[in-house]
Amino acid sequence: MSIRERLSGNEAAAIAMKQINPDVVAAFPITPSTEIPQYFSTFVANGTVDTEFVAVESEHSAMSACIGAQAAGARAMTATSANGLSLMWEMIYIASSLRLPIVLSLVNRAVSGPLNIHNDHSDAMGVRDAGWIMLFSENNQEAYDNTLMAHRIAEHKDVMLPLMICQDGFITSHSIENIELEEDEKVKEFVGKYQPEHYLLNREEPIAVGPLDLQAYLFEHKAQQAEAMKNAKKVILEVSEEFEKMTGRKYGLFEEYKLDDAEIAIVCMNSTAGTTKYVVDKLREQGIKAGLLKVRVYRPFPVDEIADALSHLKAVAILDKADSLNAAGGALFEDVTSAMYVKEKYVPAVNYVYGIGGRDTKADDIEGVYNDLSEIAKTGKVENPYRYFGLRKEAK
């Protein structure tokens, strides 16, 4: 039986970590993810977990210590946000290249500068090509569920890649909502034991990790990483199916909300999907065939599945909570539109950059996007595909 609780997103992530009981957690505080290592330290202090908590002096060291721990044969976890992830950046690439299934809870926040502590996705977008599996979560429940599934995916022998679970800073990390938790024993059984094939602490088989890897082999090693990322898609679906059997909660690569018969739809990630569902329901009452595709698995990017799921639309809007500053559009927009182009599925598409630095995303804003989509659907033409919403008028 699930346990009904009321928790913030950070509490949900910390409780999932407690139930997973990793061998090592190394973390450094940064708003808005600070609470995760805080709660976790309490579990350590009270002996509720077996974990060694390494209170490192920076996020760079947090990821370095996680790499050292995971390579040694341990399950290692951490949490961070924004500049913390930026400081880890060098090690983020090293973690994935060493094929270490480290799990990171990323509470999304705007990357400096100027300094801002509120939500957008610029931190996650900065590591989108780093070889990490990236799962996005609409609310505390999804942050919790994705964390419980994380190790099963990351540690799978065909994958062996690090994984980050994203949720929106403050919007979900600090909002208390209802949640269904699983019992400790069930989680323990589901997550299972970590049994690495090769690890530093195996004195019977000493290994060397992290070589100088020159022209002769680096390319092959990178190709293997790419292969693992391709394999991850299938593994994510398998693990999600097993998770559904345990909990009744269904997860795929993305969620389709009233998308089947929709004529216009929005593609977005994390908490904005909640607001969008509310607007979709309202528009449906007015007879407008609006729908939503909420991306859960951003890396690996489900190119074929997304292209198929959107192919019947008359117009689609892709919302990016981070600007790529490339004079062309956000990262999710480029991912979605290139997926459709390659699959030869043409749907008029428009990009909105929004919610930067915690700018509130209101139902009216989302409704405005659907209004624009209705116009685009009529003409089939997109005048300016790279747009903003929620920007102050006087600042334009």
Binding site: D23, V24, A26, D50, T51, E52, V54, A55, V56, E57, S58, H60, S61, A62, S64, A65, C66, I67, G68, A69, Q70, A71, A72, G73, A74, A76, E90, M91, I94, L98, L200, L201, N202, R203, P206, I207, A208, V209, G210, P211, L212, D213, L214, A216, Y217
Partner: protein, 316 residues
């Protein structure tokens, strides 16, 4: 048992193998080999390397010169990387996830770039947190791997590629950082400065103490660089000797805060003896630059005196 180099070499096989690509005449490989020999044969080690000469020359895929487990991640984080491995050991040992018998020891190697400079924070964090590990700095006094750029360990007036001895500025104008003292400031149980000298006795014994002292330990090992310092490769041991006999590189250890100078030359040699064979100090011997040698000598004298004072004060 008193130290005997022949017995150590005969009875303890090298755990750092030949075939690596370090330069002839470099001070780092003999130091690393001797430090690894200080491990009890039955103990296993996890070695972490900071990016630098030693790492890129000893672990080029698919070859490794390390017979123990080895990990390299990046330049500035050998301290933090090894912290994680050590934390994993503590956690897994406690949980019964590792075999009960047999010990694993944790040893990091970083050059002065990866230790005095870019890796100082990571080292400081690891030492402050009290991980049971040894951090070894092989100090060759510049960023040798990238081609002899100055570091905070470079001695004053040395000619490097980023502190060239020019017509206006005669080499590096700043004094070198005293890293061992910074480590002493962390109140860790064992800090030592050493070099391969007198049959490696000092180096071997300090490595053994560092490895088998519970908690964090730091070894600063002078590792001359024939390319960066400009001496003939067969002169390595002579350079080591001169560094000690001039008191440029005193041999000392700090055990629980108490200083002990392990070797006091009966007749301290003038520092010129150490400087002269090295091309990086060549400009100091030009007519008109006598002041540079004088100033260098003053600094060596002051630092030596300070060490003598610290020994006296901390043993009162």
């Amino acid at each position: 048992m008193p130290y005997n180099v022949k017995e150590v070499v005969a009875n303890k096989p090298s755990r750092f193998t030949s075939g690596h690509r370090m330069c002839a005449g470099c001070g780092a490989p003999p130091a690393a080999r001797m430090i690894m020999r200080a491990l009890k044969p039955e103990d296993h080690a996890v070695v972490a390397g900071a990016t630098g000469c030693m790492e890129v020359s000893t672990f080029i895929y698919p070859y490794t010169a390390w017979t123990d487990s080895f990990i390299h991640t990046a330049f500035e984080c050998a301290g933090a990387t090894l912290s994680g491995a050590e934390a994993a050991y503590q956690s897994m040992k406690k949980q019964g996830k590792l075999p009960k018998d047999g010990e694993t020891k944790f040893i990091a190697f970083g050059g002065d770039g990866g230790t005095y400079d870019i890796g100082l924070q990571s080292l400081s964090g690891a030492m402050e947190r009290g991980h049971d590990m040894v951090y070894v700095c092989y100090d060759n006094g510049a960023y040798m791997n990238t081609g002899i750029q100055r570091s905070s360990a470079t001695p004053k007036f040395a000619d490097t590629t980023t502190s060239p001895a020019g017509t206006v500025i005669p080499g590096k104008m700043q004094s070198r950082k005293d890293l061992a003292k910074i480590m002493v400031g962390h109140h860790i149980p064992y800090v030592a400065q050493t070099v391969g000298y007198m049959n490696f006795k000092d180096l071997y014994e300090k490595a053994e103490k560092a490895i088998y002292t519970e908690g964090p330990a730091f070894l600063n090992v002078m590792a001359p660089c024939p390319r960066g310092w400009g001496y003939p490769t067969d002169m390595l041991m002579q350079i080591n000797k001169l560094a000690v006999e001039t008191c440029y590189w005193p041999l000392y250890e700090v055990i629980d805060g108490k200083y002990k100078i392990n070797y006091k030359p009966a007749k301290k040699l003038p520092v010129e003896e150490f400087l002269r064979p090295q091309k990086r100090f060549k400009h100091m011997f030009k007519p008109g630059n006598e002041w540079m040698i004088e100033e260098f000598q003053k600094e060596v004298d002051a630092r030596w005196q300070e060490l003598l004072d610290l020994e006296e004060i901390t043993n009162k």
